[in-house]
């Protein structure tokens, strides 16, 4: 097994302004993200040899991309893997380049959620079935983690709420610095802690927003990348872990971590040659669909010891000026979560940071960055972990 490390490079990226884009259709979002990526890479649509399009509910087939962009008769694969859809499009596109099939490909994700007229995620049209499962929503399902985490590690309701509230507080500070974020406002802890309950114990600010958006990446070989620009970003690891969705069947699952996160992260560290993630990873964009998700993910990724993430959260270790900044761009918390786009949006922040173009959020000389993108519910979710860095890293 050779792995993906340094076998593909990113030479162009685009990301729309995320938010309630009443002005934009999925077509508009795709064009906006793709053309920013083309211009960044210094190429045109005709240079794209193949594309991978991620979306969960905004349309079907590769023609959702080829039609608005008028891409001519190239292979386009439509990809879906729940909330990890964009990462999955990126992963498959990377493998095609690494396999030597294509030189330059496009990975792009899009979701248009705000035309549905409902709050939260709709979940799309269910296929005809028995419909016997308990009524559930995303916040209700992820709140299960918080209940168990608090109980398991002996946190009082107040301690637990403060811990997860601090996660959102930090992300809002970062998001305020990002012109592409949906929410660009710092939020005081008091407001976070006293917000209305959405799914006990998760309040409004423990939940990420619901947004429209698109993000795109141009992927090529390291050799071609070097000729195209002076600052390409290398892929160091791409791992996907798909569990058998057994968390609500086997009593072995503790509902206070994501087993698939642990496995995907370990595999990614191995692929990238990382042995001490807390020290070696310079920054991370993780799947903070809910504040508690980010909190337990810090443990799953090996950033914090099991049951101890509270100390790191409260001490500011994951803040922009902390030891391991997380959600540097504001995260899902401030970008919202256009499902098919989020994974590439995470990579976009890595890419800009490595190129020194992250504006007010710019970190000092980051070496390796990690993205973590999960799709599903605590009882079972597909898990993507990717590591990115400069060629020499």
């Amino acid at each position: 097994m050779q792995g993906i490390k340094d076998r593909v490079a990113i030479v162009g990226m685009g990301c729309t302004k995320f938010g309630e884009r009443w002005d934009a259709s999925a077509d508009d979002l795709l064009v906006e993200a793709a053309y920013e990526a083309f211009e960044d890479a210094g190429i045109g649509p005709d240079d794209i040899q193949a594309a991978w399009l991620g979306t969960t509910s905004s349309g079907n087939t590769g023609m959702l991309l080829s039609e608005p962009l008028r891409l001519g008769y190239i292979p386009i694969t439509r990809v879906e893997n729940a909330c990890a859809t964009a990462s999955e499009a990126f992963r498959n596109a990377s493998y095609a380049v690494a396999a030597g099939i294509y030189d330059i490909v496009l990975a792009i994700g899009v979701e248009k959620l705000k035309d549905s007229g409902i709050s939260g995620l709709g979940g799309g049209q269910a296929s005809p079935s028995h419909q016997l499962s308990a009524e559930s929503t995303a916040p209700g399902s992820f709140a299960l983690l918080a209940t168990t985490y608090f109980a398991r590690y002996g946190l009082s309701f107040e301690e637990g709420k403060h811990m997860i509230g601090r996660v959102s507080w930090k992300s809002h500070r970062n998001g305020a610095l990002n012109p592409k974020a949906h929410f660009r406002k710092e939020v005081p802890m008091e407001t976070i802690l006293n917000a209305p309950m959405i799914a006990w114990p998760l309040g409004l600010f423990d939940c990420c927003g619901v947004s429209d958006g698109s993000a795109a990446a141009i992927i090529t070989t390291p050799e071609i990348a070097k000729r195209m620009r002076k600052d390409p970003v290398h892929v160091k690891a791409l791992q996907l872990c798909v569990p058998p969705r057994d968390g609500n069947v086997t009593t072995k699952y503790d509902y206070s971590h994501f087993p698939a996160s642990v496995r995907a992260a370990q595999a990614a560290y191995k692929e990238a040659g990382v042995t001490n993630p807390r020290e070696e990873i310079s920054m991370a964009e993780v799947h903070d669909c809910f504040s508690i998700t980010e909190a337990v993910t810090m443990e799953d990724l090996g950033f914090s010891p099991r049951g101890k993430v509270k100390d790191d959260i409260e001490s500011g270790f994951f803040d922009l000026d902390g030891g391991l900044p997380v959600q540097v761009d504001g995260g899902l918390k401030c970008f919202g979560h256009p499902i098919g786009a989020s994974g590439i949006r995470m990579i976009y922040e890595m890419y800009k940071q490595f190129q020194g173009k992250a504006g007010a959020r710019q970190l000092k000389a980051p070496k390796l960055g990690l993205t973590h993108n999960l799709g599903g519910l605590p009882s079972g979710c597909v898990l993507f972990a990717g590591i990115f860095g400069l060629p020499e890293a």
Binding site: Q131, L132, A134, T137, S141, M197, P201, N248, T251
Partner: protein
């Protein structure tokens, strides 16, 4: 001689004081309170609950038939009793019938069961009676009607009470009725219904059955009979010749008039306190009257562990909120939730799963012994063991009668629910296995990791004419 082998009952957890209803309409509230079925309950689910109580310690596979009595069946076409029988895990070879449309349906079902047993076509027959009739908002019926159910297992052999005799009068005396499209029960002037009908016809049936057996009122430990409300109930007892001490508690001030279920619920109340040798008179009323004479046997001492009426009366929570009752009964048009519409279940999919899902069966792996309750979006039948990955090496394993512990929960304010917040739980069962369930009849503040829960058959939702039944958990309260 045919008789009663076992009994059970069910009274919903919520009680609405009549003063709360009165206050809402600027009227004096009648005395007492009424039991109110939750939004996810109906005569089918209440029959299952009473049936589970009745079958405690009895193998449901030994039951030969199930007769369900109600005037408020959720389905007008589709046999309601077959849904009850499936949830109670009766054999497919059992006979079911809905006894409907009559306040006397409970005793008619009992008498049919006795006939089947005496004729030898069935060894044991379960009779369930449950009702949740609707009175028009602000009317007298709204205050009077309550919800509840009872179940009796009838058969021969070790009966707890023999059915010695019966007498039936049929009479198309109509003081209450509900036509096909009516939502609410219609009632003629009370003086006609009660003075000319209720005071006379049941008393006539009672007198005739006593005459038939050479018995007088003094020979009875208890008289159990239907009543519209407490004062009128007492009057009939007197007309029939009983002293107040002989009249079994009517439940009208604590549960309300539970329609077709009431005579059987009152009977269960009497059986709970009966001593061997006691004679009990049971009288129903509705399009005539049935009167039955029962004699309690020594066997009664063996089934004192039912929740029955007494324990269910103790397990309660007061609804101080009339609007919640209106919402649960669908009596107020509500703002549509900003959530996706519920997709109706697929009938082929439900049919594929129903033998497993309705009695809440999971499997136990024959290779590694792991109990597992499987419910994917597509199926309730696992193919590969979650632990040892053996393929199709399972034996059926029932979860409906297992207690569980809440591993985690959330109160979801975003989810669609008629009793928000929607409490979702993950339950680990005693003996192994885990499942995700909504929690019914809970006070959000009482929910804790580690709390003990039991399974309850409920309606998950209703859409496009389909009542989608499955199981929820609820706190263990005894």
């Amino acid at each position: 001689m045919a008789g009663i082998l076992s009994y059970g009952a069910y009274i919903p957890y919520y009680r609405l004081p009549r003063s709360v209803i009165g206050k809402a309409w600027g009227q004096p509230g009648a005395r007492g309170e009424k039991a109110v079925a939750n939004y996810d309950e109906d005569p089918v689910t209440m029959s299952v609950a009473a049936g589970m109580d009745c079958l405690k310690g009895i193998d449901p596979k030994t039951v030969d038939a199930l007769f369900m009595a109600t005037t408020s069946a959720p389905y007008k076409e589709r046999q309601n009793s077959t849904i009850v029988a499936a949830a109670l895990d009766l054999r497919r070879q059992t006979r079911h019938a809905d006894y409907a449309n009559c306040l006397r349906a409970g005793t008619i079902a009992m008498l049919s069961a006795v006939d089947a047993i005496e004729a030898g076509s069935a060894k044991s027959v379960m009779v369930t009676a449950a009702d949740m009739r609707l009175g028009g908002a602000s009317g007298a019926n709204e205050q009077a009607f309550g919800d509840g159910g009872a179940a009796l297992l009838l058969g021969k052999g070790k009966v707890i009470a023999e059915i010695e005799a019966s007498y039936t009068l049929s009479d198309d005396f109509a003081d209450n009725w509900r036509a096909h499209d009516d939502i609410f029960v219609r009632t003629w002037e009370e003086r006609f219904g009660l003075d000319e009908g209720y005071r006379k016809i049941p008393a006539e049936a009672a007198a005739e059955v006593m005459k038939k057996c050479n018995l007088a009122p003094k020979d009875f430990a208890k008289a159990c009979f239907y009543g519209p409300y407490a004062r009128r109930h007492g009057e009939l007892g007197k007309v029939m010749g009983f002293e107040p001490a002989q009249i079994q508690e009517s439940l009208l001030d604590t549960v309300g008039n539970t329609g077709a279920a009431l005579p059987l619920m009152v009977l269960v109340g009497a059986l709970e306190e009966a001593k061997p040798g006691d004679r009990i008179l049971l009288v129903s009323w509705g399009s005539g009257a049935d009167a039955l004479v029962l004699r309690v046997t020594e066997e009664i001492e063996k089934i004192r562990d039912r929740r029955g009426i007494k324990r269910h009366l103790e397990m309660k929570r007061t609804l101080d909120n009339y609007e919640k009752y209106l919402r649960w009964r669908g009596l107020v048009p509500l703002e549509a939730a900003a959530r996706p519409e519920k997709v109706p279940p697929s009938m082929p999919s439900l049919w594929r799963e129903h033998a497993w899902a309705m009695p809440l069966y999971g499997v136990k792996c024959k290779k590694c012994g792991t109990p597992q309750l499987f419910l994917s979006a597509e199926s309730s039948r696992p193919r590969i063991c979650v632990e040892c990955h053996a393929r199709d090496e399972f034996e059926p394993y029932k979860f409906a009668d297992k207690l569980g512990t809440v591993t985690t929960f959330s109160h979801d304010y975003l989810a669609l629910s008629s009793d928000p917040p929607n409490t979702v739980t993950v339950v680990d069962f005693e003996g192994g296995g885990r499942g995700s369930f909504e929690m019914a009849d809970r006070d959000p503040d009482e929910c804790k990791v580690g709390m003990s829960v039991e399974m309850t058959f409920r309606k998950i939702f209703f859409t496009k004419g389909i009542h989608n039944y499955y199981w929820k958990c609820k706190p263990v309260r005894e």
